[in-house]
């Protein structure tokens, strides 16, 4: 057991930023805090880093309570969204900073700095000032700076959000590979589900100061515990079981006769030629066709007051649908799940 967060609570005035949050993170694990803006991800990260004081709760590392330790004494590496490289120092001196503050011998610092520069592939940029580096390079230096003092835990607050799309995707893989090579326990804050899915061992979905669900990307996508998680990760068609909706068979055990909101992922919707019949088969009109290369998105309008359904198809069948065509959509019972009881 490595990092343990116990019942951490934090208020800003009347606002509850963290509401008794508890979480355990194993050594070497890569965890993402995922959630909409303002849900408390950064605040939780800052409490862990020692930059913010929680009013109650504990942060423990290998059984040792850190909550009274200032950030200086925690030895956690932090990478900030805005890089926060010291503008008056070269890349190399930025990396050396943490070691200088610990008064390490000079030749050891030099060796470590070279090591770190090689780690992030910026040996040639050692003597440049931050203002002379690109955004991606600055973020790599920030990463090297955070890693140089050999921290116990690496904390990243939306490290990629200020970068161009292309650089962002490259750095994602780079950071993940680096983390696995070093085996360092890492927490990354993000509001980008794709980022979380591609990088994390486990994802912590947060909402309004609470943890909504913790699990691997596959778990969260396949078995969302709440409607919030279901809607936040991937896209989801919601099917309230009332009004115009025909009764659908589904695999989930029924909840004492209460009406349920069912959900189905777009890629689980199956399409058949008009006239096909069977369980959970509903006729619909193709209202919109969006070609996205490897797949095609279709908006299907079943009419009689039901809301349109989003479907995704891959492969050869995708080409067969045109705007206004009549089709039958199948919502397979084993793919339908209850996302909320009413």
């Amino acid at each position: 057991m490595s990092l343990r967060i116990r019942e951490v609570t934090k208020h800003f005035g009347a606002l509850t930023a963290l509401d008794s949050v508890s979480l355990e993170i194993a050594r070497g694990e890569f965890v993402c805090f995922l959630g909409p803006s303002g849900c408390g991800k950064t605040t939780l990260l800052r409490v862990i880093a020692g930059l913010e004081q929680a009013e109650a709760g504990h942060v423990e590392l290998d059984g040792r309570d850190l909550i009274e330790l200032p950030a200086q004494a925690r030895n956690f590496g932090v990478v900030f969204q805005s890089y926060s490289l010291f503008p008056n120092m070269t890349a190399a001196r930025n990396i050396a900073y943490g070691l200088e503050c610990r008064r390490q011998p000079r030749d050891r610092i030099r060796k470590r700095v070279d090591e770190m520069l090689a780690l992030v592939g910026l040996q040639d940029h050692a003597h440049k000032l931050p203002s002379q580096l690109s955004g991606g390079q600055q973020q790599r230096i920030a990463l090297a700076r955070a890693l140089a003092p050999d921290p116990q835990v690496l904390l990243l607050d939306e490290p990629l959000s200020a970068l161009d799309a292309k650089v962002r995707v490259d750095l994602r893989l780079e950071i993940r590979a680096l983390q696995q090579r070093l085996g360092i326990t890492t927490i990354m804050v993000t509001h980008d589900q794709e980022e979380a899915l591609t990088m994390a061992d486990r994802i912590v979905v947060m909402r309004a100061g609470r943890i909504e669900q913790v699990g691997s990307g596959r778990e969260l996508y396949g078995r969302p515990a709440t409607r919030f998680v279901a809607e936040f990760i991937g896209r989801l068609n919601l099917l309230p079981q009332d009004g115009g909706m025909p009764a659908l068979q589904h695999a989930t055990e029924t909840g004492a006769g209460r009406p349920a909101v069912l959900g189905i992922r777009p890629e689980a919707v199956r399409l058949h030629p008009a006239g096909t019949e069977g369980a959970n088969h509903i006729p619909a009109t193709v209202a919109q066709v969006v070609f996205l290369g490897s797949m095609t998105q279709l908006v299907l309008d079943p009419g009689n007051g039901m809301r349109p359904i989003l479907a995704e198809t891959h492969g050869p069948e995708a080409g067969g649908f045109e705007h206004g065509a009549q089709v039958v959509m199948e919502l397979p019972a084993d793919q339908l799940r209850v996302v909320e009881w009413q």
Binding site: A49, G50, L51, Q53, A54, E55, A56, R64, D65, I67, E68, P70, A71, Q72, A73, R74, N75, F76, G77, V78, F80, S82, S84, L85, F86, P87, N88, Y97, G98, E100, C101, R102, R145, A146, P149, L155
Partner: protein, 559 residues
């Protein structure tokens, strides 16, 4: 590991390691501010109420009730309002020309208008007397009997004296603008005058208020110029001097000092009030202003700026001229004899000025940097109080602060008495007299050093002191050079804060100018003025050169 004391209160209290640096920093900054700003003011206040029979209002009654005082008060307000009005309007035109037109020679104009900042604060009256006085160049050349002494002399001197200060503020206010606003106005069919009234003027409102405040305070508290050119036209500032130095009547001096505090304080409060209502006109989406050529506009402003620059320059030039002639205005042949300084203490006052200014530069930088660090970075319940103390001197006339030093520290039982009568106390008087401006420059820069650097440093194991030393100070170093130059320049030229503190041994050059002028030694006074200007310019050039060698560009030295 101590268990957090959440059990008793439910709320975790800040630990001692968080409080100690805040406490120590606060004390280090608050202590000197209390001693060198608050104490002298309290001393003045107490003295103004002290009578032979204890505390009472007698001093006030004996001063405020008199017809003489009412006349002086009216004189002061009259001179102040008129010269402030004229100076601000002219400075606005000058700043508009520099920032919002494409007139030729902008860089030169910018420099020329700032020349008075390099000269002792009474150089305007000195120059005007040389030009328009009884023995002035004009009367001698044209055989006229033009009389500059009195009201108009003071107004003219004051306008020239405060113009550069107003220009600096207004130029900053007019420097930024949002092109999109001007484009939309033009598309909506607004003419130039309408655009000026509805966009330019409102967006520079805060700068205008600040300029009015600074000019008002400078004029009403200046006594060098009225001493030289005022003749029988008395104002509050000269009256304090007369009471304290002339008649050794400290009680009356303090009462007038208290009166002088009122308008300055009112102006300060008014300015604060206006600046609070200032809304952000510039956002990060703003487009910088693109100026288009407009020959009529550009040449009109070039003409205006030329006229103003000539007025400013002629005053300084005639002083330089006078310092090099045998005996103004009788023997106008070249001579260096006034640079022998065979008067009083010889050249010593100039050296005193230089020592004092160097001390003020060093101490001033340390003091205002510490104040801005503690106020911006170590928040605590007393932060607001510290901020108030830091900017309080802006509302205190120099003579009042200086008089406060005399009353508070010229007393063997006071610990500060140990340095009373030394150059150090004069340097300290200058540091605290200019504390508000120095502090605001430093703290603006400190604010730009984002708190995220402090946090980044903390997570890397840096202590507060390491962060300050390795990150914060190096980042703001260029600004601090500017602050040092600011303290040096002002200390070289100021009269008012030091006039009551000098002794024959610690006399400063600006006071020498005043005393020599008073004795009718016009040429020597001029030579002293020239020495002050030459020193300031030499230091400015030296600092520029040093910055150039260091590769630091865009450092603003003249404030």
């Amino acid at each position: 590991m101590a268990i957090a004391d959440t059990a008793s209160t439910g709320i975790r209290q800040p630990r001692i390691w968080q409080r100690a640096p805040v406490l120590i920093g606060t004390l280090l900054v608050a202590g000197p501010l209390v001693v060198f700003v608050l104490w002298p003011l309290v001393a003045i206040l107490m003295r103004s109420f002290s009578t032979p029979e204890g505390f009472g209002l007698e001093n006030y009654a004996s001063v405020l009730g008199t017809a003489r005082f009412m006349r002086i008060l009216t004189n002061s307000l009259d001179v102040t309002l008129v010269s402030t009005g004229i100076a601000v309007v002219l400075a606005y035109g000058f700043a508009y020309g520099v920032q919002r037109t494409l007139m030729p020679g902008k860089a030169v104009f910018r420099l020329l208008v700032l020349v008075p900042l390099f000269a002792p604060s009474l150089v305007q009256a000195q120059g005007l007397v040389l030009l328009f006085g009884r023995n002035g160049l004009i009367n001698r050349t044209f055989g006229t009997s033009f009389d500059i002494y009195g009201y108009w002399g003071i107004v003219l001197a004051m306008v020239l004296y405060v113009l550069p200060y107003a220009f600096l503020i207004l130029s900053t206010a007019l420097a930024v603008a949002d092109q999109r606003l001007y484009e939309s106005a033009r598309i909506l069919g607004a003419g130039p005058w309408r655009i000026f009234r509805t966009i330019t003027l409102p967006s520079s409102r805060y700068g205008l208020a600040a300029a009015i405040f600074v000019c008002f305070t400078l004029v009403i508290t200046d006594f060098g110029n009225p001493m030289v050119i005022g003749a029988n036209y008395n104002v509050l500032a000269t009256e304090i001097y007369n009471q304290v130095i002339g008649q050794a009547n400290f009680e009356r001096g303090t009462v007038i000092g208290m009166v002088l505090l009122v308008p300055a304080a009112v102006a300060a409060i008014w300015e604060k009030y206006l600046s609070r209502k200032q809304f952000a006109l510039i956002s990060d989406q703003s487009k910088p202003l693109e100026l288009r050529p407009n020959p009529l506009r550009d040449w009109s402003f070039a003409a205006l700026c030329t006229a103003i620059s000539l007025a400013i320059l002629s005053v300084v030039a005639v002083v330089i001229y006078a310092s090099f002639v045998h005996l103004w205005p009788y023997r106008m042949t070249f001579s260096l004899r006034h640079y022998n300084f065979d008067v009083q203490n010889g050249i010593q006052p100039l050296w005193n000025s230089i020592y004092i200014s160097l001390m003020a530069a060093v101490i001033g930088v340390i003091v205002v940097t510490a104040a801005s660090y503690v106020i911006e970075k170590l928040r605590s319940p007393v932060t607001r109080g510290l901020y108030f103390l830091s900017i309080l001197p802006a509302a205190v006339p120099g003579m009042v602060l200086g008089l406060g030093y005399v009353l508070a520290f010229n007393n063997p039982s006071n610990p500060v008495y140990a340095i009373y009568g030394t150059l150090l106390i004069i340097a300290l008087a200058n540091v605290y007299y200019y504390h508000a401006q120095g502090f605001l420059i430093a703290s603006t820069s400190m604010k730009q050093v984002s708190g995220s650097f402090d946090e980044a440093s903390a997570t890397l194991g840096g202590t507060r002191l390491q962060t300050l030393w390795k990150v914060t100070l190096p980042v703001i170093a260029p600004t601090l050079v500017g602050v040092a130059v600011f303290f040096f320049m002002r200390s070289m030229v100021t009269l008012s804060a030091v006039i009551f503190l000098i002794t024959p041994q610690t006399q400063v050059a600006a006071v020498s100018v005043l005393l020599l002028e008073d004795r009718g030694a016009t040429n020597q006074a001029a030579a002293f003025s020239v020495c002050i200007m030459a020193t300031v310019v030499a230091v400015l050039l030296a600092v520029r050169g040093m910055l150039w060698l260091l590769g630091w560009k865009h450092v603003r030295l003249i404030r």
